[in-house]
């Protein structure tokens, strides 16, 4: 138990970074998913086409490859390190790539949520002279959002797990810190076990929070 006690602060620092990346990616993935879903449902063919291509590309390639490609591949042909800074670029690029990847799945969640709202709701909004934006903003999205909560929480849990793929491209977070600790202590079993436990606590509390939310919505189920 000694390696654990000694290295717990280092690992907790890694956990803090993991939570930070998760929070950023979860917020961005919702924003991106919302925009891309609205584009997919747009009347403008070009917007639909761009959004569809985005979703397909990110869903049909592995996240790890996307990360290598953008974090390590892109600097080979573009002076991105000079633009953003040698240390900042990988962090920004990794966070952004992760958000784009998760955003592709959120796009489908949001799209299904919007399409799931009864057509009569939209027609009623139109009949009281709401324009497309007002109909979305005040009528369709609030109703879609409620049915989107469970799959979104699910996706958020996936995002937390996916932050572990940031370590291979050199981003410091929980797994990265763990590998450093193991290199020094050789306590492979204990440290990986502890890391797994930390992820478990994080994601388990999220899913508990989710079922709490669902129960709340069940109580006033509008």
């Amino acid at each position: 138990m000694d390696p654990i006690r000694q290295n717990l602060p280092v690992l907790l620092d890694g956990l803090r970074l993991t939570i930070q990346y998760s929070v950023v990616a979860i917020i961005l993935m919702v924003v991106i998913g919302l925009v891309a879903a609205l584009m997919r449902l747009s009347k403008v063919a070009l917007l639909r086409w761009i959004a569809t291509a985005y979703v397909e590309i990110f869903r049909s390639t592995p996240l790890l490859v996307q990360l290598f490609f953008i974090v390590l591949g892109l600097p080979a042909i573009l002076p991105v390190n000079r633009w953003f800074g040698q240390l900042t670029y990988p962090i920004l690029a990794a966070a952004f790539t992760l958000s784009l990847n998760e955003g592709a799945y959120v796009t489908e969640i949001v799209r299904a949520g919007i399409l799931g709202v009864d057509r009569g709701q939209k027609e009623a909004a139109q009949s009281i002279a709401m324009n497309g934006f007002q109909t979305m903003r005040y009528i369709v999205l609030p109703q879609a959002f409620k049915r989107m909560i469970p799959p979104l929480v699910n996706q958020a849990a996936q995002t937390i797990k996916d932050t572990s793929l940031l370590a291979p491209v050199g981003i410091v977070e929980l797994v990265y810190k763990g590998q450093i600790v193991i290199a020094q202590t050789f306590a492979s079993f204990a440290i990986w076990g502890l890391i797994a436990a930390l992820y478990f606590i994080l994601i388990f509390s999220l899913s508990k929070f989710s079922s709490y939310l669902e129960r709340r919505l069940q109580v006033d189920k509008r």
């Binding site: 009864d118 009569g120 709701q121 027609e123 009623a124 909004a125 139109q126 009949s127 009281i128 002279a129 709401m130 324009n131 007002q134 005040y138 009528i139 609030p142 109703q143 409620k146 006033d220 509008r222």
Partner: protein
């Protein structure tokens, strides 16, 4: 108030409206009847632009609906619509259902919108339900809220698409009563309904539609007691 010329509407290759021409005066109550699938709903939905006409002209509340330059949202402020399935906004309270149009579309201050909404809810007999949600109300109550929601926009014309067809029989009367009051107050109304009593008592004119065309139109008494066309006769024989 409404002027329709040679209105055609097709869904794909399927022509639903095959040249409708009619005219509705200010304060007139026109009842539209006809068999299922004859295009009554489609006709009504064309009148507020929920469906775009394939060809023909619609002038309503002083605006050319079929002119592409017309601002459809501006036009819809003058044309209210009540649906068979009520379509109240499920996530909003009764009061919010009635105020959201005035607040968000007409940018009316919340207090003023609330005041008007309470008046309208009183008018349709729903005092005390302001804070309820639609699914806590009976069908008849929901439909009366839907009427209040439309009225809150201050429309010049009200369109009703089978407003009582989804209601339990004991709730039909309360909705028809509200509509009758509106008619007496001088609202211009186009009502698709199977309620022949309402047509007789409140309607100024009845339009019989079949297969995408107006077969016959006349004052209710005339049409019901002395229909000219065979198709009208056989339809009336079935429902009266």
């Amino acid at each position: 108030m409404i002027n329709v010329k040679e209105l055609h509407k097709s869904f794909g290759h399927n022509e639903i409206l095959k040249g409708i021409s009619t005219h509705v005066e200010e304060k007139e109550v026109v009842v539209v009847i006809g068999p299922s699938g004859s295009g009554k709903s489609t006709f009504l939905r064309c009148l507020n632009g929920l469906e775009a006409a394939t060809s023909g002209e619609i002038e309503i509340a002083g605006m050319m609906l079929t002119d592409p330059k017309t601002n459809i949202h501006k036009l819809r402020q003058h044309v209210g619509m009540v649906f068979q399935q009520f379509n109240l906004f499920k996530h909003l309270t009764i009061l919010e259902n009635v105020t959201i149009g005035p607040r968000k579309v007409k940018k009316i201050a919340t207090e003023e919108a609330n005041r008007v909404a309470r008046e309208l809810l009183a008018k349709v007999g729903l005092v005390g339900k302001e804070a309820s949600y639609p699914d806590e109300l009976s069908g008849g109550q929901q439909q009366r809220v839907a009427i209040a929601r439309s009225l809150a926009m201050g429309p010049d014309v009200m369109l009703f698409d089978e407003p009582t067809s989804a209601l339990d029989p004991e709730m039909v009367g309360e909705v028809l009563q509200v509509m009758k009051t509106l008619a007496i107050e001088g609202m211009t109304m186009v009502v698709v309904t199977h309620e022949m009593g309402f047509a007789r008592e409140v309607g100024h004119r009845v339009i019989f539609m079949d297969d995408g065309l107006i077969v016959e139109e006349a004052a209710p008494k005339t049409l019901f007691s002395n229909p000219q066309r065979d198709r009208t006769k056989s339809f009336l024989a079935k429902i009266l």
